[in-house]
Symmetry: none
């Protein structure tokens, strides 16, 4: 039986050794729900298995996905770990606060994921735009470099610290639940498609940035399923109105 | 000028790579007072220097001592990190509590050290008997193995958490600020008017409730001015598209 816990998603990890090290760091703190997005050297990876040693079962059970969107499709709330400022409007929380929030959400039955970026450059803004909040470890600003397994270790440590004491917070939801990542993704698709047709992404040179800001807008909002229905409905209605050509 | 901080003492470390990794982990959290007791491969160690990369100055300044007793001779309070129970009567504290105590003692001018054992077997009881308290990381009892640099990392992290004012949650605003209530109100008006025209609020009997839900949606979202501009722009564009009658 699996204890409810966040999924740790390694996005485009490079070195097998670091994947194995991340598996060990997770299991050190009782976490075993690993996912990977497009590992550079393919999967399975013998170097990851060798490094994981006693934590091999975390790797055996890990899900591998081609894109970040697919890896988080069934999740309701997504944290992205990053060291740098990204110029995206988004809450930034400490690992402590993040795992406190994760514990509370998981206690309500919500599914939580934490994204970890590749070793060299970290997560791309395109991944971060799909997350609800940013987790940033409070490191020495003059020497901030943490590797992948260390970042996983500190986050796992905070998860364990937060789950020893049990004070579940509750959010009152009026006959609905929060939208999952795939619902947000589809909402983003719907708007992007229709607005593309409508000529919204203009001028061309700004189109990519406008699209990312719009994706980021949806991901950052605490949208319920009912909200998502309303937002789809608005757009469909505008299209119908246009098509009636009154 | 050195900021008052605990000394981290590596007791009989084996691999140079781990000494370098420990130096990095210390500097990640602003610590630079390293000491070593009888490093297995002598000192200086080129592998330690290579691994430390940007944290080489921590190694350059490290003191090397033949015994644990000499390494801690000038200290007033000593913590010993260990995973196993040792059958010694001694307070056992979490890293969090240990660093909270260290901060308080250092503020009073007392000198504090933390002992870290060799990779394979950890500290010997003979070392631990010289310590005032044991620090034990709350790991998964079924998979407790932490390496030297990880143990240093977690302890350093707690030191920084206890000593630096850390804001648990901020919102990064990318060149914008949150929308004011009047801007949200006007956004609500804009959508309500256009959607009224477009025949969105149907059937009549549900119109009031739909309008209220839509108002509530905008108010509940942490919208920035930039978001409000995007949302006005979306609607205006849909209207223009409709009016072009393509």
């Amino acid at each position: 039986m699996t204890i409810a816990q966040p999924a740790f998603v390694l996005v485009r990890p490079q070195m097998g050794e670091n994947i194995g090290g991340a598996a060990r760091a997770m299991l050190n703190f009782g976490l075993d729900q690993m996912r990977m997005v497009d590992p550079r050297d393919g999967w399975p990876n013998p170097k990851a298995v060798a490094m994981a040693s006693g934590a091999g079962r975390v790797l055996d059970a890990a899900g591998v996905f081609p894109t970040t969107a697919e890896a988080i499709a069934d999740c309701d709330y997504v944290f992205a770990t990053t060291a740098r400022q990204r110029g995206l409007t988004k809450p930034i929380v400490t690992p402590e606060r993040a795992m406190e929030q994760a514990r509370a959400m998981i206690a309500e039955g919500r599914r939580v994921a934490v994204l970890f970026g590749p070793e060299r450059a970290g997560l791309e803004n395109d991944d971060i735009a799909r997350a609800n909040a940013i987790v940033s470890v409070p490191v020495n600003p003059e020497f901030p470099s943490l590797n992948l397994a260390q970042c996983v270790l500190l986050t796992g440590y905070e998860w364990r610290r937060q789950t020893v004491e049990i004070v579940p917070e509750v959010i009152e939801l009026a006959k609905t639940e929060f939208a999952s990542a795939v619902e947000i993704e589809k909402l983003g698709d719907h708007y992007e498609e229709r607005l593309e047709e409508a000529g919204f992404f203009f001028p061309e040179v700004k189109a990519e940035g406008m699209k990312m800001n719009l994706r980021n807008l949806w991901s950052r909002m605490p949208l319920t399923r009912a909200d998502v229905q309303i937002l789809h409905g608005i757009l469909r209605q505008m299209v119908r109105w246009k098509e009636r050509g009154e």
